[in-house]
């Protein structure tokens, strides 16, 4: 389908994470036509691979279930997965957008019965667990995947595995001939909700991520703590698989740093406070968490949660940015070197596991967003430049937690509606 049916009354939402889904659903529930474009094979984005949210410690997939039910019941949202926006032209109320769709190699017949996965032997690193474990090359991204259809990884196309998958499918849902296709959409307004990426922790050389196995990032630790993660919810050390009861949380890993990310990523303080409760939940009184920080930015109502964690005897706070992480090469225990700036005490503290509260890098930086969407010095989309009809939403606009991202996405939906309503008024 070269040109999809979309008019200048259609709102395009780029990015199928919690912000993109919110913008799409809120607009659709106001009666607007929406096309939701997602580059991976499923909606849900980064929140689908979070185990719990701060401050309630509730489960992100619970919100995803509600949003998916809203999506299933709403015919005016069209979802295009494995799709990326490659070009945007035209102006406010009258855009032409080029979308490149990579082949899924599985058509609508798929009943998600899983037969193809059993037939295939090749495996790929599992992106939803940040590559900590592997996934069959014919896979359903995760249990809450939407659309609920399997995907064949391009790496096995043209190999015996692809043929095995095709043969195993009783509903000829596997179509090895699928090609990449490009389609053009006419849309009235665009909401850019491409979210964020964890900063590459290997660039923070003094912390030894990549050189020392027991130095991991907060998003990887989140997967370890998740019962459906690579370790079945056991918090363990990648080096020897032993349980990690003494965990260090290093704040501002990349953020607030002229050499890395100039901005403060806002969520890392609360993420670490939350994750100290994972260690507590796993090991009770035997747990030992230490948070190394510059300022604990548990802002406004999150202060309640910070106060609660401060009352937890298993959590210690050290006001110090860790200077260097070394490793005891025999036991592979990470050793944190630095100075506690409250009272100037030098420490070289040994931990089972170090979690870098990694900063947020906007994923807008890579994508070629249209010129009029101004990116600020940290690479986030600037607030809606007046006249522009391309609006940022969620973490593409600023380092935001989920609550603020969703609020921001709801606002972006209204801005998009304003554009398409005006276009409609102009024509009527």
């Amino acid at each position: 389908m070269a040109t999809a049916v979309a008019t200048n009354q259609t709102i395009l939402v780029v990015g199928g994470g919690v912000s993109g889904m919110t913008a799409a659903l809120e607009a659709a529930e106001c009666g607007k036509e929406v096309v939701l474009v997602e580059s991976s094979a499923t909606l849900g984005g980064r929140t689908a691979s979070l185990y719990r949210y701060f401050p309630k410690l509730c489960h992100p997939v619970c919100g995803l279930e509600i949003n998916l039910r809203r999506l299933r019941g709403n015919r005016s949202v069209r979802v295009l997965t494995l799709a990326e926006v490659t070009a945007v032209s035209g102006t406010r109320g009258d855009f032409t957008v080029t979308v490149k769709r990579s082949p899924r190699y599985v058509n609508r017949n798929c009943t998600a019965c899983g037969a193809c996965a059993q037939a295939v032997s090749a495996e790929i690193p599992n992106p939803w667990n940040y590559g900590l474990d592997r996934l069959k090359a014919a896979y359903l991204p995760h249990a809450m995947a939407y659309p609920q259809r399997y995907v064949l990884d391009p790496s096995i196309i043209g190999t015996p595995d692809a043929e095995k998958a095709r043969a195993a499918c009783k509903y000829d849902a596997i179509d090895l001939g699928m090609q990449a296709e490009t389609l053009e959409l006419k849309v009235g307004a665009i909401v850019w909700a491409t979210g964020w990426r964890p900063y590459d922790a290997a660039k923070i050389q003094p912390y030894g991520y990549g050189r020392f196995p027991n130095v991991i990032t907060s998003v990887e630790f989140e997967r370890l703590a998740d019962p459906h993660g690579p370790s079945g919810g056991k918090i363990l050390r990648p080096s020897d698989g032993k349980l990690a009861k003494n965990v260090a949380f290093v704040q501002c890993a990349g953020s607030r740093d002229e050499n890395h990310l100039r901005h403060c990523s806002r969520i890392c303080c609360m993420a670490s406070l939350k994750q100290t409760q994972y260690v507590r939940e796993a090991f009770g009184e035997g747990a030992q968490s230490t948070v190394y920080y510059i300022d604990i930015r548990a802002i406004d109502r999150f202060e309640d949660f910070y106060a609660r964690v401060q009352r937890d005897p298993t959590v210690k706070f050290v006001k110090s940015k860790v200077a260097r992480i070394a490793e005891d090469q025999a036991t592979r225990d990470p050793i944190l070197h630095g100075v506690d700036t409250e009272g100037y005490r030098r420490y070289a503290s040994r931990h089972d596991l170090v979690v870098l509260a990694i900063g947020m890098e906007p994923s807008v930086r890579g994508a070629d967003i249209p010129a009029e969407v101004v990116a600020d010095s940290s690479g986030f989309i600037d607030a809606a430049a007046d006249g522009a009809a391309v609006f940022g939403a969620g973490c593409a606009t600023n380092a935001l937690d989920v609550n603020r991202s969703v609020q921001n996405a709801t606002a972006a939906a209204l801005r998009a509606i304003q554009v398409v309503n005006r276009a409609a008024r102009a024509e009527s």
């Binding site: 050389q205 003094p206 030894g208 050189r211 070394a326 090469q329």
Partner: protein, 303 residues
């Protein structure tokens, strides 16, 4: 090949019978083989090193470095200034960056330089010898001249601090630079990859004024080399070479250790690998003799 002709800034210790004469001798032998032409900046002066700050404020220190640039621009126009010593390279480059960044500083500096009849125009740039080897020649070219690979000799690549920070070699990481290990492997030696004291400071000038504090660092540097089974330490900095070699005796006395680890220059390794004699590699300049290198230097060269 690009014109390998440089204005050479040897530094106060790299001269005949200076504490780094072995560095100078081996660098010159190495450059002869590599067809690199080093012409000393006429009448160059000391860069002030990193400890002389109490003598005067910032401006005087920038002026003494600007004098060398002025002399190079005047007598060796169009050639990059090349320094072998870490402190010379760092002070020269720091002054150059400050001068190029501030018109006020440039004006004050030239006002002072007028007293010596000189003017700094800001043309020449300053490079470390290692930068010349890696960027202008490249590992492949450096490997081509090897006739006697240093097989079986394990080197702990001790980069030290000032050749690595705050500027460092382009593309190299501050925590874990690998160019020295690559140079060792280029000449057939074996490098200790996970040598954890690679970039630790040896105490620098304070090895002289605060011996006890510096020797604690030097002990870690040498001990870790032994722990990783290294036969020798190789370094690009004359102060590191001197401190780590000379004070091993004091460290043994103070800590009861039995260190006797030779500390060599990359230029000595390359001179031996290129078939140079022990004298050309200034192996006779080692207080702790690098016997393994001397044996290789003594074996008849393979054509």
């Amino acid at each position: 090949m690009a014109n390998k002709d440089y204005a050479f800034y040897p530094g106060c210790t790299s001269h005949y019978r200076g504490s780094a004469s072995n560095y100078l001798v081996s660098v010159e032998s190495m450059c002869r083989t590599l067809d690199v032409k080093l012409t000393q900046i006429p009448d160059w002066n000391c860069c002030g090193a990193s400890v002389s700050y109490a003598g005067s404020g910032e401006l005087a220190r920038h002026v003494i470095n600007a004098r060398n640039f002025a002399l190079a621009e005047q007598h060796l126009p169009g050639r990059d200034v090349v320094a072998t010593c870490a402190a010379c390279w760092l002070n020269a480059r720091e002054s150059k960056e400050q001068l190029d960044a501030s018109a006020g500083l440039l004006a004050d500096t030239n006002e002072a330089l007028k007293e010596a009849g000189l003017r700094y125009q800001g043309i020449a740039s300053v490079r470390h010898m290692v930068e010349v080897l890696i960027e202008d020649l490249g590992y492949e070219e450096l490997g081509r001249h090897v006739v006697k690979p240093l097989e079986g000799v394990k080197f702990a690549g001790y980069v030290g601090c000032q050749t690595n920070r705050p500027f460092g070699i382009a593309g190299e990481s501050f925590e874990n630079p690998v160019y020295l290990d690559k140079l060792v492997e280029t000449v057939g030696g074996q490098a200790v990859a996970d040598y954890d004291q690679k970039v630790t400071c040896c105490g620098g000038a304070l090895a002289v004024s605060e011996p006890e504090k510096s020797q604690a660092q030097i002990k870690d540097i040498v001990e870790s080399a032994y722990d990783h089974g290294a036969d020798m330490i190789v370094t690009p900095c004359p102060l590191c070479q001197a401190n780590v070699e000379i004070y091993q005796a004091d460290v043994n006395q103070r800590y009861g250790t039995k260190f006797n680890m030779p500390v060599t220059y990359y230029s000595q390794l390359m001179t031996v690998a290129y078939g140079g004699s022990a004298e050309e590699a200034a192996l006779d300049g080692q207080i702790i003799r690098a016997t393994r290198l001397e044996e290789i230097a003594a074996t008849p060269g393979k054509r």
